[in-house]
Symmetry: none
Subunit: 193 residues, 4 copies
DNA sequence: TCCTAAGCGAGACGGTACGTCTTGTCTTCCA
DNA sequence: TGGAAGACAAGACGTACCGTCTCGCTTAGGA
């Protein structure tokens, strides 16, 4: 059973080739326009090989997202703690996006599909609940229900993130995060009294 | 030239039947799962008839959105002026959505496609530019560029709107708009000094 | 309901094109080597069109056989009666094969599949039962059961027919039938006493 | 040099396992429906193992036929001589089939493929030429060419054999051979004058 | 009142992509 | 080092939709 390493390496290599092919094609034509056949041709891979690794195009796409997520969490744990500050988390994400720009553009830019955006949305919402539930998510006396609050914070963040990814503006991550903070922090503070 | 009225009536009737069929099907299965064949069958219409009226499913869908837009603009001009207040506009939209709930759910809810959301986004952004450009969109000295500001305001609004449409919560339109104002107004004021 | 004629003509034309394409390809590569894709390409027809007319390659093939059968039965009823003589029937078939040599080679030659041979076998066996049952197929006192007798006569005939189709020998149909009669008639007479 | 015996044994064992697996599967689903994957799974063998022993499914199948042929020839040489009598040879084969019924059904029954039948046909034709050429195969003055004669005799025989294998009738080998003789001998004698 | 142009239903058609299946080759590991 | 396990490229299969098309029928409206 130890002898599987080499085989596993082959498998991993094929998966990587497929992911790369998809990302490249997304940046060229946009997610929806890419067909499984395109990916297969670009990756020089047999049709059945594709389907033995991934259920469909979405699955391949999301596997790329998972890589991204793992990288990001590694990045997070390496960095400073968040001090319970959501805008610290958003900063990390802006920074991470900046250093993996092509990947982020393919996955979360307007060329990417809805699939990833929804995934990221869910992921961030979960992350927020996890880290800040004690602070406000369980208070019952607010005008704005915690659910709405979380949804708003994540949506606003992603609005700025995707805008940034889709317009080739020279703003650095820190500038983007400052905007995000300026726009959202006052409202959040007001709501939390 | 004059004799076309009866024919036009027939044409309008067919278009309406197709729009209704699509809306009904979207609420049943979600936008993506609906095929042109489904619409044709439901509407009891020939395939070529469909394509003589609309280029594709998206075009039919957007024609439904146009109806909505016209209704909404009628509603707007009937109501009080906005006094240059974005949260007055958002209130009108929440109210309009409330009184056409099924239609809004089909078009902008999670059953609807991305197509409509993007369309609405663009429309609202244009509306904002139109009405409030004098106020701040042309100031050059802000930390947050007007583009980002508009994008943020529309995105936040739509986040609350879609959340409201997709979760069957009993909040009235006014309550939703209060939340929207509470969350966004302080930040906007701060940014505008 | 009269308006279906034009459509039917189109349908018949497409079916004919597909049959012709298959027959040509069989003569080129043999039945088994021909793929549905080959037929589609040769016939300049869409994939779904093929499947809307025929369930699979075998069905298309057998539809060609049905044409042949109809032709043959027309030929039979035009010609002299069989007088209850099986070797008269076999003669007709040798003659019919001779005048439609390419078609017979494609369907029943070694390039053709097993499908047609089995079909023809069954067809001829049924034909025999129909025409000669009174003579001997219901006698119970024979050493050779009627079933075996019919199977033997048809198999022998087809052995000579396929041999003839597969070897480009200059024997005319009448010569082949004489051989068939010489070989089988004495045995049949002996068995029937 | 010395250690090859054990290896050869292993090799033989693998080949046998594969043959058995194929035969069993043919009786279950028919030759055409059996895939290489089926055989591999049934035999608990790796894919490359299969292909290192046999070129393809047909080759494996025919190797089974070769075993049968060797057995039969052993059986032949053990028994009485044929006295130049074809119906003695056919009797031996009917008898041999009777005592290896399952194997014959798998190879030559309707579950078996065309491959075996063609092989057996060729083999028997050759056997006939070998043993009886002096008698008539070289006469030039017959109405029926020797080629056709041989083809007819073998085809008739196989017609009766396969009929017998495919219908579970209680006739013993001798009875089948009597039928074969009754049907064919008179014609043959007549042709040979 | 009849004629004629257009709207329309029905659905055949050429295409494209899908996800499944099988084949024969190639790579890796292990005994 | 040679045989077993199984990953792989290739490509056919049958299905599902798409957007174009051809065909007769119905149904105004103007003559």
């Amino acid at each position: 059973m130890v002898g599987k390493v080499g085989v596993d390496r082959r498998i991993q290599r094929t998966r990587q080739i497929l992911q790369d092919a998809l990302m490249a094609l997304i940046l060229e034509k946009g997610y929806d326009a890419v067909t499984v056949q395109d990916v297969i041709d670009r990756a020089n891979v047999g049709r059945s090989t594709f389907y033995s690794h991934f259920q469909d195009k979405d699955a391949l796409f999301l596997s790329g997202f998972e890589s991204l997520r793992e990288q990001f969490e590694q990045y997070l744990s390496d960095g400073a703690s968040m001090n319970g500050d959501p805008w610290n988390l958003s900063l990390q994400m802006f920074q991470h996006a900046q250093s993996h720009l092509q990947l982020y553009k393919a996955l979360a830019g307007k060329q990417g599909g809805t699939v990833a955006l929804e995934h990221i949305h869910k992921y961030l919402t979960a992350l927020m609940r996890e880290h800040f539930k004690s602070q406000f998510l369980e208070r019952k006396d607010m005008d704005v229900p915690p659910d709405v609050l979380a949804h708003y914070m994540v949506s606003s963040f992603m609005a700025l993130l995707t805008w940034w990814l889709d317009h080739d503006v020279p703003y650095p991550a820190e500038r983007m995060n400052d905007m995000y903070r300026q726009l959202t922090q006052p409202g959040i503070i007001a709501v939390l009294r």
